[in-house]
């Protein structure tokens, strides 16, 4: 077991972890933050997207030990003060989800995109969420929601 220390949604975390544990399982099963989803477990679907030191990554392709010393943000951190972020509100208003399984990953990728590019074009939005698969919506309302959030 290895001791990992990192900042999760603004709070310090310190745990013993088995080196083979993937970050996504550590977040979900050890820290009980189940907003981050496991979709494919092969790095294709993006449902497990979190931000590590401000960068969007797929937490099924990172070991928990690799997060040591970093700042991790999950979907729970978007509404840390109890109020949905403008992006989350835009997803709700634009009906940017159907089953909702991909939504946490979409929100994290879109959060990353808008932080780095506050006024993205539609093409940039589509490129920004390329690593996130949605099997319900056809992406149209997701793109609209991100555009709407960018306008705010």
């Amino acid at each position: 077991m290895i001791t990992v220390r990192f900042e999760l949604n603004g709070e310090a975390v310190e745990r013993e972890v088995d080196p083979r544990r993937l970050l996504v399982h550590f977040i979900r099963d050890d820290l009980d933050l189940t907003g981050t989803h496991v979709g494919c477990d092969t790095g294709n679907c993006g449902a497990c997207t979190v931000l590590v030191d401000g960068e969007a990554v797929k937490s099924c392709m990172l070991l928990a030990v690799q997060a040591d010393g970093t700042r991790v943000e999950t979907v729970e951190g978007l509404a840390a003060n109890g109020e949905s972020s403008p992006l989350q509100q835009a997803f709700s208003a634009a009906h940017a989800l159907q089953c909702g399984y991909c939504t946490p990953g979409m929100l994290m990728s879109a959060t990353y995109l808008l932080r780095n590019n506050p006024e993205p074009t539609e093409r940039e939005i589509r490129k920004g969420i390329q690593g996130n698969i949605c099997r319900c919506t056809g992406y149209v309302n997701i793109v609209e929601a991100i555009q709407e959030a960018a306008r705010k």
Partner: protein, 258 residues
């Protein structure tokens, strides 16, 4: 997915990393992990020890060389290469090609060193490395050595980096004009066929990915079909269709380079 049990080492220097790699026969270097962790999930690789290179800042640098070329640390990520001014000045094709790899999340973690060391025939960078005659700098128990791209790729998932060795950096020589083309599974998806071209003093050098275990070099698109007898067939393309796509990619890459 539960990985097989593995130990984890986090060296603070290249020297420490080499010691860790030498100390265990089943040790593997962990760079971005965007390939390695997935092959570990599939049990296609089962290292005993992962030697995480994350703290080796000396492997992340990107700088122009004195002769106008480019020296890139093996741990430079795709996202980093996309925004490094030195890449944009010296070898803009590299930024253009890495921007086509997978997606934002993978580009934030995946590294140039990991891409070439995984030696997956469908990867983007092996043909680019061979067409542009990159030099690979390796460190190992016996010291440092340089390997030409031509001699670096030895087979599928197999390179000149031996047990206990580490790819530390890559040098791209100056000069020439470049092109790259691919046919992929969806935008920025896995390559079904790809080709990189460089024109230098009127001479073309084209390297084809996806049609052999390692990049195949030709000097004209007309040579592609004969040069790729072992092109694989799969659900995406028959061998003959893949050779056709390779020729199309070679022509497009050469056109961009000319």
């Amino acid at each position: 997915m539960l990985l097989r049990e593995v130990q984890y080492a986090r060296p603070g220097s290249v020297e420490e990393a080499l010691q860790a790699l030498a100390a265990h026969e089943g040790a593997r270097a962990l760079a971005g992990g965007q390939t390695l962790l997935n092959v570990m999930k599939a049990r296609a690789a089962s290292p005993d020890v992962l030697v995480d290179l994350r703290d080796l800042e000396e492997l992340r640098g990107v700088a122009r060389t004195q002769d106008g070329g480019l020296r890139i640390g093996a741990m430079a990520t795709y996202a980093q290469l996309m925004r490094e001014p030195a890449v944009g000045e010296a070898r803009p094709i590299l930024a253009e090609v890495v921007a086509q790899i997978a997606d934002v999340q993978v580009r934030n973690r995946g590294t140039i060193g990991g891409n070439v060391c995984s030696s997956d025939p469908t990867n983007h960078l092996p043909p680019l490395a061979v067409a542009q005659r990159w030099t690979m700098h390796a460190a190992g128990p016996a010291g440092e050595r340089d390997v030409a791209a031509d001699e670096f790729f030895l087979g599928v998932y197999f390179t000149a980096i031996g047990p206990g060795e580490l790819l530390t950096a890559i040098t791209i020589p100056p000069g020439g004009s470049d092109g790259f083309a691919s046919v992929t599974l969806g935008v920025d998806g896995t390559c079904i066929a790809n080709a990189a071209a460089q024109v230098r003093d009127g001479q073309a050098r084209i390297a084809l990915g996806c049609v052999g275990a390692v990049p195949v070099v030709v000097s004209s698109p007309d040579e592609v079909r004969a040069a790729a007898p072992d092109a694989p067939a799969d659900v995406h393309a028959s061998a003959d269709y893949r050779r056709h796509l390779a020729e199309v990619c070679a022509r497009r890459a050469l056109e961009q380079a000319s």
